[in-house]
Each structure stands twice: as structure tokens, then as C-alpha cells.
């Protein structure tokens, strides 16, 4: 009698296992890439975005500006929009802050009278230059890189600012 390892039955069993492993790998590898692909694209979303003419931001004031995220899909709707706080110190000196609190990402509000940013969630407060004033935030507000070109204000962004990747 032929040993099982050399028999037709043994071969068929091995072939069955092998074909299924191959099939699982051919389907499984793209699935893993599909699900985990997003985080690999490190350059995702970082680009220069116009916020409008600098004249829209009077010196000494802090105003809310909005832009559409450069990386988007057609069905993002209103969530493609992003808000940021623009502080024009004077001339071409600006500070542009993310609205997201450095603590847990809630939207901070600007209070011109007390010159503070305040967070509604857990009570974080920041001074007008974005530095931490009080409360749980571990750092100041996230600040965008900016430039002024042809009378327009541009910021570099496109990413949800978090502690591991501040703007």
C-alpha cells in the first residue's frame, strides 16, 4: 500500500489546503492594505491653502476664518470645511491657530473682551498669543505655518491637528 504522503488522497488534501491558503492570502493582503492604507500616506493633506485677502483681518484683532480641506471626497458635505482663528498682530505678522483645543480637540472660542480663548468642554483657556493660560491643556493652541503672497494670507494645513501631529 502506498504511504499517505505519496498517495493521490494525500496529494489532494495538500492541494486543497494549499489552494485555500493561496486564496486567503490573495484576498487578505489587499484587504489589509485597504483598511490600513490610509495611515501610510504620510504626506496626506499638507498643502498651502488660501484664507483670503489680508485686508479681511484688521490689525490687533482675532477673527474666525474657514477653508475647505484640500484633501476631500465628493460626499464630505459641510465636514470638508475647517475653521481656524486668525490673529493679525500688525502688518504682515500673523498667528493662525487651529480651533481644536490641545486638550481633547473641542472647538475653542475667542473672547475679545478678556482676550482669551476658552474651551467649552473641560474649561481650557489660552491667551491671545495661543499660549496656555489655565485648565487641562498640556500645551498652547496648535499654530499653522502661514505666508502672505500677493496680498493674500495662506496657511499650511489639511490635517486634523492632534498632539501627535500638531498641524
Amino acid at each position: 500500500m502506498t504511504p499517505l504522503s505519496q498517495s493521490r488522497r494525500g496529494f489532494l488534501f495538500k492541494l486543497g489546503v494549499g489552494l485555500n491558503v493561496l486564496g486567503a492570502a490573495l484576498v487578505g493582503i489587499p484587504v489589509v492594505g485597504y483598511i490600513f492604507g490610509a495611515p501610510r500616506r504620510r504626506t496626506d493633506g499638507q498643502s498651502w491653502i488660501p484664507l483670503g485677502p489680508v485686508d479681511g483681518f484688521p490689525a490687533g484683532e482675532t477673527r474666525l476664518a474657514t477653508y475647505e480641506n484640500p484633501v476631500r471626497v465628493a460626499w464630505d458635505g459641510a465636514t470638508a470645511k475647517v475653521a481656524c482663528w486668525v490673529r493679525r498682530i500688525e502688518g504682515e505678522r500673523f498667528q493662525v491657530f487651529a480651533v481644536n483645543c490641545a486638550h481633547l480637540g473641542c472647538p475653542v472660542r475667542w473672547f475679545a473682551q478678556s482676550r482669551l480663548f476658552m474651551c467649552p468642554c473641560h474649561g481650557g483657556a489660552y491667551y491671545e498669543d495661543g499660549s496656555r493660560a489655565s485648565g487641562p491643556p498640556p500645551r498652547g493652541l496648535f499654530e499653522y505655518e502661514y505666508r502672505v503672497r500677493n496680498g493674500g494670507l495662506w496657511v499650511r494645513g489639511g490635517q486634523l491637528p492632534t498632539l501627535s501631529r500638531p498641524v
Partner: protein, 473 residues
């Protein structure tokens, strides 16, 4: 009952039984003997949770017939469900109140089985699967809250992403995995829809099957008696004896209380849905509308409160390690105390642990409702200075009252009970601080107060402190 009218029914059933054999498979499950002591009202929470899960599936499927899982259409489809789809408001209401009830009753079930010692030998695996079910249900609660795709959902995701970003080394990767892209947007919602509708329910159904199989295979936990110690050598034999001597068949002796309890919780959910209606959606999910104070649903209020109250230097460690330790502790319970006394009357540490945990969670959740740490952003224009604090004051002091109002001190400090509670109430501040201490505190801040040195002129500080020096009981 044996009238001839039933003959066709009976013959149909016989026809089915001959082919499917379902009666033969189900009958032993219904008839299996259980200790008489378990036919108790305390043993109904598991069945009630299962009944709620069935309701969630039924209403969830109905909602998915209409709901649009796309960021630009989800909100409108929810409004359509609320106001136009026939009974859409009702189904959303049942799904919402059902989810609340499911988390609540499941928690009761967990506390009951723990106090009754049901996690001990030989039911360790039943407990572990139960912990998985608990975590999956909380996962359903969180992802379901996201599908409501309103301002709370949007900023709730922001909070989730901020927590994930704190993980050392992999924070950025986790954030992208969570959001499915660089920002909270269309791809994020699709992702959460798939998790809420396919992934977690699939896992839940499988785990529930395993949980029930284990209950059937090992037998339901008998009513624990003080002094009847669990030992690996004798427990199973003694259990078999008890079931044999004083057992009743599960159906209908124990099942009827389960049935009543299931009926009551489902009716309570229906009543809540009819009386209170569906929950939300609240503000439109437009990230540029920032005048919003996001808040989680009740099951996460305790966590939300914890994030506000932790000392900042402990935060990252507690946020990341705390949940892992808590989950690990739940999984380890049957291994730390797998034998010995079962009755809560002889397990003071177990009873105290439950009490302490319940008190902590309830206190934090209560604080999460009142949010004493949140600034009252409207107080400076909405809350008037109490008349008794302006009567008979000098012009300088009145000017100070204006400064206090206009510089938004009341965002954090209350006067006459109105205003924020982040800082101390200013009623009676003059009895606690001298003029010099007040000036120092206003200018330099400290103790969680921002410094106002740059934002106030010397004249304003002078007036403000003059006013505060009059605030006495």
C-alpha cells in the same frame, strides 16, 4: 385543546418536524433542568438584555432602510426619519432608548452575576465572554452616537482622535485608522457605519451564541449560600446533585419571570420612545459653527468628567493605561477569585468594590451633567449683577462692577449664584482676600486662573478691586 380544528396545524407541524427536526433540537434546551433557586427575579437581567438586543437589531435594520451613511446626507436623512418617514420618529426613539436601556440592564446583569459569584469555577469563560459582550455593547453605543452625525458626533470624534493621538509612537497611525483620512469627514462616517452595522453586531451575535451555549452546558449559577464553598474537586458533582434533587425545567418554571421582565423592559423602552421621542440630531455637523459645547451620551459622561478633573500631568497615562487596566481587571476577576465563597454575605471585598466603583462612576457622571468646570460663556451678557451688590456703591466701585462684567470674569466666577463655577464664587470674596491679594491674583493669575495683567489697565484693576473689596455677606 384536542379539537379536530387543530388537526391540520398538527399535521403541518409533524411534516416540518420530520424534515427540520427543530423541535427535537429545541426541546432539550427549553426543558433543561435548573436549580429551583434560580427561578428568581434577580436572574432576569441577562434575558432582558437579550430582548433589548433583538429590539435593537429589528429597529436598526429598519433605520438602515432610510439612513444615508454619507457625510453630506446623514443629517438630512435623520431629519427625514424624524419628521417625514411614517413612524420614523418612533423607530429612532426605540433604537435610542433601547440602547440606553441595554447598557443599563447589561450593567445590572454584570453586577448581579458578580455579587452572586457566577464568575467562579466552572463559569470563568462565561464571564470572559460576557466582558467581551459588555465592551462590544459600549462600542455599539459609541459608534451609534457617531452615526447621529450632528455637532456632538463630530466633536466626539475629535475627542476620540485626540485620545488616540496620545498613544506614544502609534498615535498618528491610530488617528488615521479611526478617521479613515486626514480629517473628520465623509470617510470617517462610512467607516463608523460599517463598524456599527456589520462588524460589531456580527461579533455580538457570535459571542451571544457562545455565552448562551456556555450557560446551557455548565448550567445556570445556583443561588449562593453562605458557607457553600466552591472547590474544583466537588463543585460540579454537588451542582448535578442539586439539579437532580431539586431542579425544575427551565421552561416554563424559570422562564416565566424572564418573559415578564423582557416584556417590562421592552414596554418601558416603547413608553420612553413615545413620551420623549427620538434623541437629536442636534446642531448640523458643520465644523465652522464653533459655538457648541459637545457632550457625550450618558454612558460616557463619567469618562468625560474624568478628563476634566484629572491633574494634567497624570492625564496621558490615565487616559491610555486606565481603560486597559480596567478591562484587564474585568477579564482577570475569575482568575483572581475563581473558587471559595460565592455568597455576597461572605465577600466583603467584592461588595465594597462594587459599591466604590458604582459610587465613583455615578459621581463622575453626575458631575458630567452639571459640568462645574465648563466656563459659562454667556454669563457676562446674560447674568445681571445682583442689585444688592450695586446699591450704595461709589462711582469707582460701580465702574469696577462693569469691569467685572465686561472682562467676562463671570465666565468662571459666579455672583449671586449665577455664572461659571470653574473658579470660586465672588460673593464674600472681600472676607477671604485683602486688596493686595486681589490685585496680585487678577494681574498674575495662578491656581487655574489666567493672568489679566496685559488685558487690564491700571485704572480698570483699581476699580475692579475696589468693587470686589465691597463683596461681603
Amino acid at each position: 385543546m384536542s379539537g379536530n380544528g387543530f388537526a391540520p396545524v398538527r399535521s403541518t407541524l409533524r411534516w416540518l418536524e420530520e424534515r427540520a427536526g427543530l423541535g427535537g433540537a429545541v426541546a432539550p434546551v427549553l426543558d433543561h433542568p435548573v436549580p429551583r433557586s434560580t427561578a428568581s427575579w434577580w436572574y432576569v437581567f441577562g434575558s432582558a438584555t437579550l430582548a433589548l438586543f433583538v429590539v435593537q437589531i429589528a429597529t436598526g435594520i429598519c433605520l438602515a432602510l432610510v439612513y444615508v451613511p454619507a457625510a453630506d446626507g446623514a443629517y438630512e436623512s435623520l431629519l427625514y426619519l424624524n419628521f417625514q418617514a411614517p413612524f420614523g420618529w418612533f423607530l429612532r426613539g426605540v433604537h435610542f432608548w433601547g440602547s440606553n436601556a441595554m447598557v443599563a440592564i447589561m450593567t445590572l446583569h454584570m453586577i448581579q452575576v458578580f455579587l452572586w459569584g457566577a464568575h467562579k469555577y466552572p463559569r470563568e469563560l462565561t464571564w470572559i465572554v460576557g466582558v467581551f459582550l459588555f465592551l462590544c455593547t459600549l462600542g455599539m453605543a459609541f459608534t451609534g452616537q457617531i452615526l447621529r452625525w450632528d455637532q456632538d458626533a463630530y466633536w466626539g470624534l475629535g475627542i476620540g482622535a485626540s485620545i488616540a493621538s496620545r498613544a506614544p509612537g502609534v498615535g498618528d497611525t491610530l488617528v488615521h485608522l479611526l478617521l479613515g483620512g486626514p480629517i473628520i469627514a465623509g470617510r470617517t462616517l462610512s467607516r463608523f457605519f460599517a463598524v456599527h452595522v456589520f462588524v460589531v453586531p456580527g461579533v455580538l451575535i457570535g459571542m451571544i451564541g457562545l455565552h448562551l451555549w456556555l450557560v446551557l452546558r455548565i448550567g445556570i449559577n445556583e443561588w449562593p449560600m453562605p458557607g457553600r464553598v466552591v472547590s474544583r474537586a466537588t463543585y460540579r458533582r454537588r451542582y448535578e446533585e442539586e439539579v437532580h434533587k431539586d431542579g425544575v425545567s427551565f421552561f416554563p418554571y424559570a422562564a416565566r419571570k424572564d418573559m415578564v421582565a423582557c416584556g417590562i423592559v421592552v414596554l418601558a423602552v416603547v413608553l420612553c420612545a413615545v413620551v420623549f421621542g427620538p434623541f437629536g440630531p442636534h446642531g448640523v455637523p458643520d465644523p465652522t459653527l464653533i459655538d457648541t459645547a459637545p457632550k457625550p451620551d450618558f454612558y460616557f459622561l463619567a469618562l468625560y468628567a474624568l478628563f476634566a478633573l484629572l491633574p494634567p500631568w497624570t492625564e496621558t497615562v490615565v487616559i491610555l493605561v486606565g481603560p486597559l487596566v480596567a478591562i484587564a481587571a474585568l477579564f482577570l476577576v475569575p482568575f483572581l477569585a475563581g473558587t471559595g465563597e460565592k455568597s455576597w454575605k461572605r465577600r466583603p471585598v467584592a461588595v465594597l468594590s462594587v459599591l466604590v466603583i458604582v459610587l465613583i462612576v455615578a459621581t463622575l457622571a453626575g458631575l458630567g451633567v452639571t459640568v462645574p468646570w465648563s466656563p459659562k460663556m454667556e454669563a457676562w451678557t446674560a447674568a445681571a449683577t445682583p442689585v444688592r451688590y450695586v446699591k450704595g456703591r461709589t462711582p469707582l466701585e460701580l465702574q469696577g462692577a462693569l469691569v467685572l462684567q465686561n472682562k467676562q470674569c463671570r465666565t468662571c466666577h459666579s455672583l449671586g449664584g449665577e455664572g461659571g463655577r470653574r473658579g470660586p464664587a465672588l460673593d464674600g470674596i472681600a472676607t477671604r482676600q485683602t486688596r493686595d491679594q486681589l490685585i496680585r491674583q487678577v494681574l498674575q493669575g495662578g491656581g487655574n486662573m489666567p493672568a489679566y495683567g496685559k488685558n487690564l489697565s491700571p485704572a480698570e484693576v483699581n476699580a475692579l478691586v475696589a468693587f470686589m473689596a465691597t463683596l461681603r455677606p
